[in-house]
């Protein structure tokens, strides 16, 4: 159990596809580190294993008390998560602990259902919307080596229409 350093891009593990994780004591230890590290940064609402240097399909998330949250499952710790359904789409400016000083407009589904297991192997399913849905998608992207920069949908506000002159 420890607060670990949060890796920044260009750490290679952030761009790798993470490996599936067996539930059990090792997974439990990794998840405890994830939660401790997330809790150590007040603004952090989610952390994926690659961000602390482990190429493993595990993340934790807790959007409790966040002003943008609608659904809130409290503390979520998931292994091998899969998005089983999603709906809607919205663009929001996102940032990432592993890419400090950058933000970008990212289009993501507004509701998602995610299935996985807890660190002890318990099967879990979470349906989320709004900020929690965005956080889930952001963390699961980390497990596939995707950063928000891979999903940037526009340079600035999606406001100024593209125009053809002449």
């Amino acid at each position: 159990v420890a607060v670990r350093p949060v890796l920044h891009y260009p750490a290679g593990v952030l761009k790798a596809t993470a490996s599936p994780v067996e539930p059990g004591p090792e997974a439990e230890a990794l998840c405890a580190d994830l939660v401790d590290t997330m809790r150590a940064s007040p603004a952090c609402v989610g952390l994926a294993a690659p961000q602390i240097g482990e190429s493993a399909r595990a993340f934790c998330m807790d959007v409790s008390g966040h002003p943008k949250a609608s659904s809130c499952a409290g503390l979520v710790v998931l292994l091998n998560p899969v998005i089983v359904s999603h709906d809607g789409s919205a663009v929001t400016r996102e940032g990432c602990m592993s890419l400090p000083d950058f933000t970008g407009n990212v289009r993501r589904a507004t509701t998602v259902t995610v299935r996985g297991t807890g660190p002890d192997g318990t099967e879990l399913e979470i349906s989320a919307d709004a900020f929690e849905a965005r956080a889930l998608q952001h963390e699961i992207d980390h497990l596939d080596g995707l950063l928000f920069l891979d999903r940037v949908s526009s340079l600035t506000a999606d406001l100024f229409p593209r125009q053809r002159y002449r």
């Binding site: 929001t92 400016r93 996102e94 952001h138 406001l159 002159y165």
Partner: protein, 176 residues
Amino acid sequence: MHVAVTAVGLDRPGIVATVSRVLFDFGGNIEDSRMAILGGHFAMVLIVDLPEGRDAPELEKALAEPAGALDLITTVRPVAEAEAGRASGSPYVVSVYGADKPGIVLRVSQTLAENGVNISDLATHVVGDQEPVYVMILEVDLPPGAQADAISDALKAIGSDLGVDVAFNPMDTETL
């Protein structure tokens, strides 16, 4: 040394490729840059790091012929070394929109300057043919200790003066 390179010309494919070819061959490294189509003209501003022993007039000369072939207006000027640092203030977004009239940019930017607010990004655009709407979006940094409510009120007062709508909101970035 760093130079500021600007180029503007009627938009057409190949402008970026042409300018960046010259910069590359010159040994320059494009650092921060912004490029966009503005009113049918492609406009670029680039901060370029030049290798030891090369200077702005030399680069300007190298650009002249290829840029001239595309009817680009180019300039190259040395710039002072800027210290990199994070903005210390709180980021806000200002949107101003309504019928186009003189003075919108001036009044808004003047009020921001008077309050020590730094503009980090600004874009204006005129949209629509029949009843054109003027839209200005700014990203600004409020200095530490600034009264956001007072700045918001001052901006909204300009809005009612000029008959345009003004919104002033904290920049919404969801850090995950």
